[in-house]
């Protein structure tokens, strides 16, 4: 799956739960926030959708039929096998270490315990989706940024957005779009720098060090005069952040 997409493209989410009220409320909530949402209430229906379409994130309950057991774990394993670039969030009312472990062993990225507040679901969907986007361009940013998420909500959102923005700067993209994205990166960096240093800035610097993000954006804008100039400024700011950890 091509993970690197323009920031204007909506994150594609499949929400699966056998309870109609849950799947509809989650679907409506995420759609209202700009996600491209498909819903399903059966294992086989979800599998069919994964076969036919591409999703950034699949959110699934564990039990998917009356009297059922762990259909959601089977779906998780199916998604991991069929669409390895798609992240899976498992929701379960069964609060046990064994269930959490089983979900992760089947490939779940995150396990959430019901009832899941919809804003929490949204944050996790966004984090997983951005991780997918990050993986497409700068793999070594993935795990460190994952660890940075969830500490300070505002900074977490900026870190997630930063990863997605960095990944969006690509050689085939229009110069104007790359320039706009790079200016947005400068804004995010300024915000991170002003509000939460040195901890987060240092963490980000640690993430960026050796990630190749700087060279990626310079290479992508090599033949784009305007975007290239902004890329040089972004690269300088990123290098400065990378040095932050060495001086922390």
């Amino acid at each position: 799956m091509q993970c690197v997409r323009a920031m204007t493209e909506a994150v594609r989410v499949l929400v699966v739960d056998d309870e109609r009220t849950i799947v509809e409320s989650a679907g409506d909530y995420l759609r209202a926030r700009g996600f491209d949402v498909t819903t399903a209430r059966e294992l086989e229906e979800a599998e069919a959708l994964v076969v036919v379409d591409e999703f950034d994130v699949v959110v699934t309950d564990v039990r998917l039929r009356p009297g059922g057991r762990h259909e959601g774990l089977a779906l998780t394993a199916f998604v991991v096998d069929r669409a390895p670039a798609t992240g899976v969030i498992v929701m379960t009312a069964m609060t046990s270490d064994e269930m959490d472990r089983s979900a992760r062993e089947n490939g779940a990225c995150v396990v959430l315990h019901k009832p899941v507040p919809l804003p929490q679901l949204e944050r996790n969907v966004l984090a997983i989706a951005s991780r997918c986007t990050i993986r497409g361009a700068a793999p070594t940013l993935c795990d460190p940024l994952r660890g940075a998420c969830g500490t300070n909500p505002g900074t977490s959102a900026d870190l997630i957005r930063l990863g997605a923005l960095l990944a969006a700067v690509t050689p085939g993209r229009a110069e104007e779009d790359n320039a706009t994205t790079l200016r947005a990166i400068l804004e995010v960096l300024a915000r991170i720098d002003a509000t939460d240093r040195p901890r987060v800035a240092g963490m980000l610097g640690h993430c960026l060090s050796g990630s190749g993000a700087e060279s990626s954006i310079l290479a992508a804008t090599r033949h784009q005069a305007v975007a290239g100039a902004v890329a040089i400024e972004v690269s300088a700011r990123l290098r400065a952040l990378s040095r932050t950890i060495r001086h922390a």
């Binding site: 109609r20 209430r41 059966e42 086989e44 229906e45 599998e47 069919a48 009356p66």
Partner: protein, 252 residues
């Protein structure tokens, strides 16, 4: 009371809707519609409204037999007002033909109910690559052939077709997959494949239909290769058969 499943909704009265896409035959006077392929959709408010999702789901639910019966019945009822000179093509899973012992009788009963001569009917066999009981499959084919029904194998050139099936099923019609057709005018490899398929069809006394024809130059390349029956957006998109006279007037 639990909510109905997607399968429940598909099998409920009115759960299947049928569109038709024209299949044209090239003659000296130009192209003429001489058949339609019936395309089934699930309820519009469900994921089954998309055929590719519907039938992937149906296969995963192992419900091919029930859904094929529903689709066939809906299709024949939908096209019963079309001109009698048009042939009707309906898709059927190979698993249904092999495993549904009463399917032949069901087909003939549906034809009788709608007044459609069985000799107008072509059943397009889908998903035949993994068919376990070929003996029962071919027995069903023979039974229906005796009543005038013809058979087509589609996706020729794609991964699911195979020579063994062509040899044993002896389809009257072979449908060339759109993957081979699209862009054939500019791709000598695709043209080479098409010429080979033409020769094969001639040797097997089968009629070829090229699917997915969207470009005039592909149409012309297919004609030059000797393929005179085609289907695709160039000749008309799927439409509600109830709008047939209007579709004809617009050139669909």
């Amino acid at each position: 009371m639990t909510d109905p499943t997607l399968l429940d909704e598909v099998l409920a009265p009115g759960g299947i809707t049928t569109c038709v896409q024209p299949i044209v035959q090239f003659r000296e006077t130009g192209f003429r519609v001489d058949a339609v392929e019936c395309l089934s959709r699930g309820p519009g408010h469900t994921n089954g409204r998309r055929a590719e999702v519907l039938f992937e789901y149906v296969r995963r639910r192992h419900a091919e037999m029930r859904v094929d019966r529903a689709c066939l019945q809906a299709a024949l009822r939908a096209v019963q007002t079309l001109p009698a000179e048009l042939d009707i093509a309906v898709n059927v899973h190979a698993a249904t033909l092999a495993n549904d012992a009463g399917f032949s009788d069901f087909v003939l009963a549906a034809c009788a109910e709608t007044g459609i001569d069985a000799r107008r009917l072509t059943l397009e066999i889908t998903e035949h690559a993994g068919t376990a009981d070929r003996r029962r499959l071919f027995s069903a084919l023979d039974s229906l052939r005796a009543c005038g029904v013809r058979f087509a194998l589609d996706d020729l050139g794609a991964g699911t077709s195979n020579y063994a099936m062509i040899l044993e099923a002896r389809p009257e019609i072979l449908k060339i997959d759109r993957f081979i057709v699209h862009g054939c005018a500019r791709d000598r490899r695709r043209l080479a494949m098409i010429r080979n398929i033409c020769d094969l069809a001639t040797q097997l006394d089968a009629t070829l239909v090229a699917e997915g024809v969207e470009e005039p130059d592909d149409r012309d390349a297919l004609l030059a290769a000797g393929i005179f029956r085609m289907q695709g957006y160039l000749f008309g998109r799927p439409f509600d058969p109830r709008s047939w006279p209007m579709a004809q007037a617009s050139g669909a």
